[in-house]
Assembly symmetry: C2
C-alpha cells in the first residue's frame, strides 16, 4: 500500500516515515503533504506555552488522559530549539509522558531545530498536516525553550494555552513581558502554591485591559469570544483538569460559532504560505547569486570596511535580476 | 552642514533625525547608513536580556553612571515589540533612567516594532551604525518583551549580559529554557534576596556543562575565553556594579585578544546582510507576483481545500521567474 493510504488509515510507522521525510527535506515530502492536504482540517491544534517550570508537560499528560477517556486520538509535538543544554530537559519531559507510551492512540514526537527556527516552524506545519490527515483529533504543540518558539506556537495553533504558576518570577512580570497577548485559555497551574489567587486577580486585571479590537496584537483576536477563560489547576495532583478540558471545549465551540476559529486558521495558512515562499526564494537566490557560498566573502569585505552594506546588497539584487533574465537565453 | 557631517560630530538632533529616517524607511536612509559606515566599529554593543522583573533597566542605569564617570558616551536602545499592554512598562523603564535625561553624553531611544520583528532588528542594526559613527563608545540594547526580541539582541550585540534573579520562576527553570546559551556575562541581580547563592551554584553548574566547542549553539561561542563570568549585584542598592563593569571590560579585552570579538562581529554582519537581502527580495516579489495583494486569495483557496499548499507556492515561484524574464522584453 502506498504511504498516503497508510497514513490515512493511521498507520503509525507510515506516519513516522512521513515525518522523517519532512524533517530531512526529502524530495518526496512536498507531494506527500499535498496529497494528504484534502484530508486535513479535522484536528484541533492546541499550543501549550508559558513560564518555564510551570508544569506544561504534566498538564499535557493529564489532558491526554482525559482526551483518551472520551476516545479521541491525541498527538504531541514537542518543538525544541536544539541546544547542548536542553537534552536533559527533553528527556525529562518525555519521561513524564511515558504513561502513554504504550497507547496506540497517542503519538508523541520531538522536533528539533538543527538549523534555523523558520525551518522548524515549516516542518512542524507539515507534520501537523500529516497527523491531521491520520485522524488525530487533538494535536498538542509544546515548546521547550526560549522565545522564538513561542511565536512559532502561536502561528501554528488553533487555541493557545498559556500556563502560568504562582511565584516571584511570574505574576506582574509575566504580563509586563507582553506574553499575555498570545494566550487564549489561561491556566494557573500549581494552584496549591502560595500566591495562586493573587496571580488570578492579576491575570484578570491584565485581561480586562485587553483591547476589544480584534485587530489588536497579532491581528487575530477572538472577536465574538466574550472572555479568555482562566482555569486554576494542579496538574501534579490531577486537580482542575476536567474544568480545563471543559474551558477548552467551550472556547472551541464559541470559536466555531463566531467564525473566530476559521479566521485564525486562515491566519495560520497565510503565515505558512509566506514561510514556504520565503524558503523557495532563498533556494533560488542560492542558485543564482550563491548566497550561502558568497556570504562569508561579502561579510569579510564589510568587516574590513572595503564595502558598504546597502551598496553591496543592492548590487547583489541587481545581479540576481540579471541572472534570472539571462536564463531565458539558455 | 549636511546630516552625515553633523552625525559624525555627535549632533544629537542630527542623530535623532537619522533614526527617524531609518524607522520611517525613508528613501535616503540607505545611503545615509552607507555614508556613515566607514566611521563605525568603535562602539561596544552590549545586549541586556534576562528574566522579566530581574531589574535590567536599573542595572543599565547604574552602568551608564559608571561609564559616564570614566568619560564614555553612552547610548541605550530599548527594543520593544509594541503591544497594547507594554505601554506602561516602557514608561516605567524610561522613568528609571531619567537621572541621565539631562546628560548630553547619554542618548536613550525606544524602538517599537510596528510591523514585523525582522523590521525592528534591521532598523536597530542601522541605528547602532548611526550611534557608532556618532562616537557613542558603549551602546546598550535592552529588550522589553518576549522571546523573539531576545534572539534579536543576540544577533546585534558584541557581548550579551544575561540578568537573572533569585526566585521560584528562575533558577533551574531559566536554564531549562535554554536561555543560558545566549549569555556572555551572567548577572545575578537582587543578590540580597534569598536563593542568590543557590542560583549562582546552579548557573555555575549549567555553565560547566557548556560545550567547549566554539561551533556549538549559535556558532559563535567564545573560543579562547576561559569562562563566562558570573557577577552578583544589587543594582537597586548600587552593589557589585564596579565588579560587573570590570567583568565586562575583562571579557572584552579577552575577546579582542583571542579574536573571538572579531568573530562575533563578522557573525553580526552576516546576519544583517541576510536580513537585508530578504527584505529586498520581498519587495521584488511584491512587485512581480503581488504577494501582499494576492496572499488573502491564495489563503482562501487553501482554506476551502481548492488548492494544495506546495502546488500553489511552486506555481507562484514559476510565475515569479517568468515575470523576471519578461522584464527583459520591456
Amino acid at each position: 500500500m502506498d504511504l498516503v493510504a497508510e497514513i490515512r488509515q493511521g498507520n503509525v510507522r507510515a506516519i513516522a516515515r512521513a515525518i522523517s521525510l519532512i524533517e530531512d527535506l526529502e524530495p518526496g515530502a512536498e507531494s506527500l503533504v499535498d496529497a494528504l492536504y484534502p484530508d486535513t482540517g479535522g484536528s484541533l491544534v492546541l499550543g501549550v506555552t508559558g513560564s518555564p517550570g510551570a508544569g506544561k508537560s504534566t498538564l499535557v499528560d493529564r489532558l491526554i488522559t482525559l482526551e483518551r477517556r472520551r476516545g479521541r486520538k491525541v498527538a504531541v509535538i514537542a518543538v525544541d530549539p536544539s541546544s547542548p543544554f536542553s537534552g536533559g530537559a527533553i528527556l525529562g519531559d518525555r519521561l513524564r509522558m511515558q504513561s502513554h507510551a504504550t497507547d496506540p492512540g497517542v503519538f508523541i514526537r520531538s522536533m528539533a531545530s538543527r538549523g534555523f527556527l523558520g525551518g522548524v516552524a515549516a516542518a512542524t506545519g507539515d507534520v501537523i498536516k500529516v497527523l491531521d490527515s491520520a485522524g488525530y483529533q487533538s494535536i498538542f504543540i509544546e515548546t521547550i525553550g526560549v522565545g522564538q518558539t513561542e511565536i512559532t506556537i502561536v502561528e501554528l495553533s488553533d487555541i493557545v494555552l498559556l500556563v502560568l504558576m504562582p511565584g516571584a518570577g511570574d505574576e506582574i512580570q509575566a504580563m509586563k513581558a507582553g506574553v499575555m497577548e498570545i494566550g487564549d485559555v489561561f491556566v494557573i497551574n500549581k494552584r496549591d502554591l502560595p500566591g495562586a489567587d493573587k496571580l488570578r486577580t492579576e491575570v484578570e486585571y491584565v485581561l480586562s485591559l485587553k483591547s476589544p479590537n480584534p485587530a489588536a496584537g497579532r491581528g487575530i483576536g477572538p472577536a465574538g469570544v466574550a472572555a479568555n477563560p482562566i482555569v486554576m489547576t494542579s496538574a501534579f495532583h490531577d486537580e482542575g483538569m476536567r474544568q480545563l478540558q471543559e474551558a477548552i471545549d467551550t472556547y472551541r465551540t464559541e470559536g466555531e460559532r463566531s467564525g473566530w476559529l476559521a479566521e485564525r486558521r486562515r491566519f495560520r495558512l497565510e503565515r505558512e504560505l509566506l514561510g514556504m515562499l520565503n524558503r523557495k526564494v532563498h533556494e533560488l537566490m542560492d542558485v543564482h547569486i550563491e548566497v550561502s557560498k558568497q556570504l562569508p566573502a561579502w561579510t569579510d569585505s564589510l568587516y574590513r570596511h572595503e564595502a558598504r552594506p546597502y551598496a553591496l546588497i543592492n548590487e547583489q539584487i541587481r545581479k540576481f535580476l540579471r541572472e534570472r533574465r539571462s536564463d531565458r537565453e539558455n
